[in-house]
Assembly symmetry: C2
Homo-oligomer: 265 residues x 2
């Protein structure tokens, strides 16, 4: 998504030129290109898919909507397995229209995970609950902290349900380091993502994830914390940013790779 202006074949080509060997994919472009075709494309290029984003949106109260969400998440698991990644990132969903019940919404996520966890396990996929910044609590994700994400994940085996650690969402939280340790001790850090915090936030606050190094987040400190917790997996850079999307995708990917090297250990 950092370079969504590139088609999948372009992305794969640029990754090859820049010596980037791992890539996180989003469902929409994969579905558009075809899941099997994407799997072949990345496999032929020797690229490894780190994660698939995203399943989730599990907070509906309406039974039909809920059934559709569960079916869609099972499809997302299938897609992840086809792409050869063992991690499906989950964005849990916001409050249903008119609801003010955050606790109830969080419990419905747990109910859904009880159904999806075993299904994912059978397909060799782990679910990674991503706590989103509290500014998304109403309309996108009622799971706002690593503490909440782990409280949910701990009801299930770690090889079924873990968490996504994303600097953009947790950097303000002085409790996050101890929660990263908690997640690591349980083997529940299923992926680690970077984005920087830049202000002012744009309207709707969706596409303001800053390029690494442009903002307020100490990337090395968070990387140290995650690695001290035992995480040895890939580190993803995930930027939604209208400014970056308006530029040449190859240039943005090169810049991102350079920033990654400069601001990580």
């Amino acid at each position: 998504m950092t370079v969504r202006q590139l088609t999948l074949p372009e992305l794969v080509g640029v990754c090859g030129q820049l010596d980037v060997g791992l890539v996180g994919l989003w469902r929409e472009p994969v579905q558009e290109y075809g899941v099997e075709a994407t799997a072949k494309l990345v496999r032929d290029a020797g690229l490894t898919v780190t994660t698939l984003c995203r399943g989730g949106f599990l907070t509906a109260t309406d039974p039909a909507e809920r059934a559709r969400a569960l079916a869609d998440n099972r499809r997302a698991v299938d897609e992840a397995a086809t792409l050869g990644t063992d991690v499906l990132v989950l964005v849990s969903g916001g409050l249903p229209a008119g609801s003010k019940d955050l606790h109830g919404a969080r419990e419905r996520i747990a109910d859904a995970l009880a159904e999806l966890g075993p299904y994912a396990e059978r397909h060799g996929v782990k679910l990674a609950i991503e706590p989103l910044h509290p500014m998304y609590a109403a309309d996108r994700c009622v799971v706002s902290t690593l503490t909440q994400a782990l409280d949910l994940a701990e009801r299930f085996p770690a090889h079924q349900v873990g968490v996504t650690v994303d600097t953009y969402h947790i950097w303000w939280d002085d409790r996050a380091p101890e929660q990263i340790a908690r997640a690591g001790a349980q083997g529940r850090i299923h992926t680690f993502q970077l984005a920087d915090w830049t202000t002012p936030l744009p309207e709707g606050v969706l596409n303001g994830r800053g390029q690494i190094g442009d903002g307020s987040i100490d990337m090395r400190a968070w990387q140290s914390c995650v690695e001290a917790a035992g995480y040895t997996g890939p580190i993803e850079v995930e930027l939604f940013n209208d400014g970056l999307w308006a530029r040449d995708g190859r240039e943005v990917l090169a810049e991102t790779a350079e920033r990654f090297v400069r601001h990580t250990l």
Copy 2:
């Protein structure tokens, strides 16, 4: 600030018409009208000033900037005392330019409170640290949760330093109810403010505080929580909202009073 389109004399007049007997004031319009003149205006009208907003911005590292901030906060204490309110709300300040050190910034607030707390006490004023929503952590307030605010406040006597509980900033936080109980047990809830959470957030996320009842926050639940913690003080409605500011101020105040009655206990 909810009706900043009104001059202070207009505000006082409309409060009288609507039978509103308490009002929270902001420093800028008070300074413009004159502190003594404002004190006389509200006193003559029989209005009680609940709080003065706001001091704070105590995170600077530059010594001269820091000295200016402390002097300004002493002035804010003086203004509060002159207006006859015993509560000065503090917005702590964001990260200095280029800094990524949230912990250091929070410690500088503690250092400043050690100087300001005794000064405020001598003037009969209590400081109320306001945790702001984590979306303001970089540019406005490094104190993002009630837990953090109380961790700071507890270093000082409760009659010097307490907290502001504002629904807009804490509604997403499942740890907030226990922290309200903690604050109440210590006599540190120095004011309680309402605003609703509406989306999409506007650019810059400053002026999106929703009218009571328009958003995702269960006002009665938070009011119950604060009152169960022993709080018996006034409840303020503080809305920064471009839409409300564009309307007739008297109409907005009447609407706000009606919403308050409808959505509180």
